[in-house]
Amino acid sequence: MDTLLELADVGKRYGNGTLAVQSLSLAIGEHEFVSFLGPSGCGKSTVLRLIAGLSPVSQGTITWRGGAPHRDAHALGFVFQEPTLMPWATVFDNVWLPLRLAGRPRAAARAGVAAALANVGLAEFAGAYPRELSGGMKMRVSIARTMVSRPRLLLLDEPFAALDEMTRFRLNDDTLALWQAQRFTALFVTHSVYEAVYLSKRIVVMAARPGRMLADIHVDEPYPRQAGWRATARYNALCVQVSQALQAASAAQADAGAGHG
């Protein structure tokens, strides 16, 4: 498997002195589905922002395939915790945005936008405004907007955290279906052990204060994964293993807190 990007000794310290991420080294392969799991404040979202170039690293390097330090603007997609749609624009115009910013006129983008909306089951909602949609539908629009430019790397920052359990399960399946169909690399931030195990090839468990990697767990379960897999002993065993790693992360965080106290 080719490496898509590599983080070498990456650290991030904010202006107020908070060390958000410390010495993170990680290689992400092409077509991987990697989840970042950890308690609040462990730097999961910060790692995504560093990779996206939305925040500069304080130390270390992030290297893309072929050693290129920079990435193509449309090689990368970002799905935020909130749908982050433009409320004044229709669903079509929201999904068109990445292509529009790249200079693609509406007519030329029409087929691509329609396909992206069809992929998330919202083909008939192109003319709707975000306020007319449910939370799950808004998140689908957000995913369609990200996918319309066919990114090689998709960064998802707790995208389903605010949704109800059933919608979340459906969107987990939808995300996996898109990932398998379009063969992008996915980096997924979540608080949920169950979601991380269900979706991922790899789970990076992080501890807070400072944010650092404690475990890199491989989930050797073939895809496609169906909802029935959630009821298997193998799934439960993996959840236990990841939960234990997460508890260790919390303990490490408590120790760090006591040490500082």
Partner: protein, 280 residues
């Protein structure tokens, strides 16, 4: 992806529109209340036999307005000219300066104190000085009206331009949007609700500024507005004529208010919470 069965658009008219939200009710109720108040006023004046030089009845005010409309019309048009020119200049200046301030904090540091001084100093206190310094009465009145209308536009537009969702800003950065694309597609639409709120305030203030400045100037002659007609009528104890001029000022204010409410509905109605009338 298969059909999800998630809730989609709410079924229109499900359960019926509440009576208080029906269009005809929203027009008829305030109109009825207004007519009722006029009737009460008329009744009180007639029953108590209040002299017209103290409080004229609405019917007398209407008759006076009809009889004097020819002489009041040029003054009304003059007040309208000052009001709308001041508002136009306030919008142009306020939006332009807001754009510069929103894009450059140094400009804000340098210019905002002047804007605040203009805002917090009552126009009635500055007006005599302006009338001394500016040779043309029309230009002086325009400047006074502009001063009071300018700040709400500037302040609201700056806040609006800065209120764009941070994640959307990140998204635009991620897709390497040009500054012009970010301004046109993100910052201006984000600022629109704030700008329109400022416009509603500035619309009323520009009229107030135009009238107050003319009172201070005590202008006379051909190029004068409704404030001068009110002053004239006051000197001659023509109270019904004072009221007639006042009615025209009020009608202008009401028209400005309704026009900007309509604008707000047209621009924001399809997406912004402030114009949401539908059932959730």
């Amino acid at each position: 992806m298969a059909e999800r069965g998630e809730p989609g658009r709410a079924a229109p008219g499900a359960g019926g529109t509440p009576l208080v939200r029906r269009r005809w009710v929203r027009i008829a109720v305030p109109l009825a209340a207004f007519l009722l108040a006029l009737a009460a006023w008329e009744a009180v004046v007639r029953i108590a036999q209040i002299p017209h030089y103290i409080l004229p009845a609405p019917s007398l005010i209407a008759a006076t307005l009809r009889d004097n409309f020819g002489s009041l019309l040029p003054s009304w048009l003059y007040t309208l000219k000052i009001t709308f020119l001041a508002l136009l200049l306030a919008v142009a200046g306020g939006v332009l300066l807001a754009l510069v301030i929103a894009l450059n904090e140094w400009v804000e540091l340098g210019l905002f104190p002047f804007a605040v001084v203009l805002q917090v100093t009552p126009v009635i206190a500055i007006a005599p000085l302006i009338i001394i310094f500016v040779p043309s009465t029309t230009a002086a009145l325009l400047l006074c009206a502009w001063i009071v209308a300018f700040f709400p536009i500037l302040s609201n537009t700056v806040i609006g331009l800065r209120s764009a969702d941070l994640n959307l800003r990140d998204l635009y950065r991620l897709y390497r949007a040009s500054p012009w694309q970010t301004l046109r597609l993100l910052l201006i639409p984000s600022a629109m609700p704030y700008f329109i709120a400022g416009l509603k305030v500035a619309g009323g203030l520009s009229l107030i500024g135009a009238v107050v400045a003319e009172f201070t100037a005590g202008a006379a002659g051909k190029e004068t507005g409704l404030a001068s007609r009110i002053l004239e009528a006051s000197f001659r104890t023509e109270i019904p004529k004072m009221f007639a001029a006042l009615v025209l000022v009020s009608l202008t204010g009401i028209a400005i208010h309704l026009a900007f409410n309509l604008l707000s509905r047209l621009v924001l109605g399809h997406w912004h919470e402030s114009e949401s009338r539908g059932e959730r």
